[in-house]
């Protein structure tokens, strides 16, 4: 099937086509979903190489679940975001374990203020944002990334994070406040006008 013919096909239908042996469906799904998965993983992990590994692993799990996919039960993108978040959580916990075994009294990863400041001095907004996101507690970071960078709705985030919508609202609100606090007083360095 030509790739153009698949641009209007839903993720779920593409997954069924893939399960039935259509390589064009795999290409369409990859082009559609891999960039979104990579974006979340990069924001969550602040490490491009690790984010690429997570993206490949998440997509691999999608290929493997294709024959058993239950149509109508969940959206493919929601399922994939959940997988990515879980994989990122595993990676972050692994980092913490390694850090605690190599350093006595290792500092909490939330203590990223020096990184934020350094990035701000360079005037690099994106690096400043990444550093500030890395300083957030893990669940707040997930909620902020999914809500404000990926544009998911609160009910979708609730499904991804497997919590209630109220919990999502709370996480995103607290995350946003924490980001504002981390970046406070640095508006000029980030190129925002005074006032």
């Amino acid at each position: 099937m030509p790739f153009d013919a698949l641009s209007d096909v839903s993720d779920e239908a593409l997954l069924v086509l893939y399960a039935n042996g259509d390589p064009a469906a795999a290409r369409a799904l990859t082009l559609r979903l891999a960039p979104r998965v990579l974006a979340v993983a990069t924001r969550m992990l602040s490490d491009r190489a690790e984010a690429e590994d997570v993206t490949q692993e998440a997509m691999l799990r999608l290929w493997r679940v294709a024959p058993d996919w239950r149509q109508g039960e969940a959206r493919v993108s929601t399922w994939l975001y959940r997988v990515v978040c879980n994989l990122c959580t595993d990676r972050l916990r692994g980092r913490r374990r390694r850090a605690s075994t190599t350093l006595d009294d290792a500092p909490e990863p939330c203590d990223a203020a020096p990184g934020v400041e350094a990035a701000m001095i360079e005037g690099d907004r994106m690096r400043a944002l990444d550093a500030a996101l890395a300083a957030l507690p893990e669940r707040q970071r997930q909620a902020v990334v999914l809500r404000h960078l990926e544009g998911l709705s609160n009910p979708e985030i609730a499904e991804v994070m497997q919590v209630g919508v109220e919990a999502v609202e709370s996480l995103t609100a607290r995350g946003k406040r924490a980001l504002a606090a981390l970046l406070a007083g640095q508006r000029a360095e980030l190129g925002y006008g005074e006032g």
């Binding site: 990859t30 990579l38 491009r48 490949q56 691999l60 907004r125 504002a180 970046l183 640095q186 508006r187």
Partner: protein
């Protein structure tokens, strides 16, 4: 930092989302091909027929050998114009039609014309 500044920062981050490298896309597609539950049907090429297979369609090489022999014999007969009867039935000579009685003698029926005595 104001909320609006943060929203600007988010908008900028959305525009600058990291794009997957070609290498990553290839790795993902390679996984997809390896994990595909139903392998795509290979494009079947029409097998090339050997000369023997083509001959077999018409009855095999023996038939063609016979046809070739008959053709050669026909050409030879046409060129050499041998006395065919002598070639095919050695010992005969002359035109066999000369000795063949195509119209039997009416004498066989002459007795029928005689009056019956009784």
């Amino acid at each position: 930092m104001r909320d609006s500044d943060l929203d600007d920062l988010f908008a900028e981050a959305r525009r600058e989302s990291p794009a997957p490298s070609a290498d990553l896309m290839m790795r993902i597609l390679a996984d997809a091909a390896a994990e595909m539950p139903v392998q795509p049907a290979p494009v079947r090429s029409v097998p090339r027929r050997t000369a023997g297979a083509r001959f077999a369609l018409f009855g095999g090489g023996g038939l063609f050998a016979g046809l070739a022999t008959a053709t050669l014999v026909g050409v030879w007969i046409g060129i050499a114009q041998p006395p065919v009867a002598e070639v095919l039935w050695p010992g005969t000579s002359g035109d066999p039609l000369e000795t063949m009685d195509l119209a039997p003698g009416y004498e066989l029926f002459a007795s029928l014309d005689a009056p019956v005595e009784g």
